[in-house]
Symmetry: C2
Subunit: 168 residues, 2 copies
């Protein structure tokens, strides 16, 4: 399963009769969605372990990470950015509010919307876990140079654009 | 949140005193694990929808995909490759066996291990869903050229190596 596929993985489809390469021709190891699933599952599991040692959940870390770099967001936006179900995010915010890490306030011009902001304590909490997270990230990308990293990130951005465009 | 980080995201750590860039300096949109989580969640959700229309689950699809290109694997290997919990994979295989898509046989030299193989019917089932999957994949990578794709895949391979090496 480790050979490289010599043909074009992304062969364009010219019409209903165009030939698609088979999964076997491409090979699992050239099929990016498979590799991404493997990588991200491992990253998430390993980070969750490390965060557990710091007594914080992945959902809390993600909420604090996003809030630490945005002035304010809604619960809906937060659950999209954090890739976390809205019900889970809602419970997570309850707990973060109890800990004094975030504040929720009704928006003055639309009382149905509540804006979430981070407190100084929340910011400090994120700063205390960031070194763990960043060092895991560095280990993950060890041996990859900045240019490869930029291409990697550019491809991910393009995919996110395609997803919005085509509603994949 | 869309600006590019001008510095080095992967700045090496020279020692405990070395300065790490902050999450805010890097920006969510330059932080690959965040982007990968967004992308893969969307890919999985959208593929699951399309597979539902073909009356098959993601776990079944993944098992058939892997089995269609390997002579035989154990349940343990299958659950790793398919990024699926072993208990879920076990139930998935029960159901695939009932459908006549796979066979499980004790290994002659070690009766505790059961090898899983795909049947002709299972192969046909995977072939019937592959066009849907491949076309979703093409849409996802639209506008990305083969060279970028190869770099992208090479980075993913390197990460998988790093994960094994460092037990991230």
């Amino acid at each position: 399963m480790t050979e490289r596929f010599s043909g074009n993985v992304l062969r364009p489809i010219d019409g209903p009769e165009a030939k698609r390469p088979t999964m076997g021709e491409i090979g699992l190891n050239n099929f990016a969605p498979y590799l991404m699933n493997r990588v991200i599952a491992r990253w998430n599991a390993s980070l969750a372990d490390d965060l557990k040692a710091l007594d914080i959940t992945t959902a809390k870390m993600r909420a604090l990470a996003i809030l630490s770099i945005t002035p304010s967001v809604t619960i809906n936006e937060l659950s999209v950015f954090a890739v976390t179900e809205q019900s889970t995010m809602s419970r997570t915010l309850d707990s973060l509010e109890d800990q004094g890490f975030i504040r929720r306030q009704p928006r003055p011009d639309d009382m149905r919307v509540r804006d979430v902001t981070i407190t100084a304590e929340g910011r400090a909490a994120f700063e205390s876990l960031w070194p763990t997270m960043y060092d895991d990230f560095l280990k993950m990308f060890q041996g990859i140079d900045e240019e490869e990293y930029r291409t990697f990130v550019a491809v991910l951005h393009r995919i996110l654009q395609n997803i919005r465009l085509h509603e994949v």
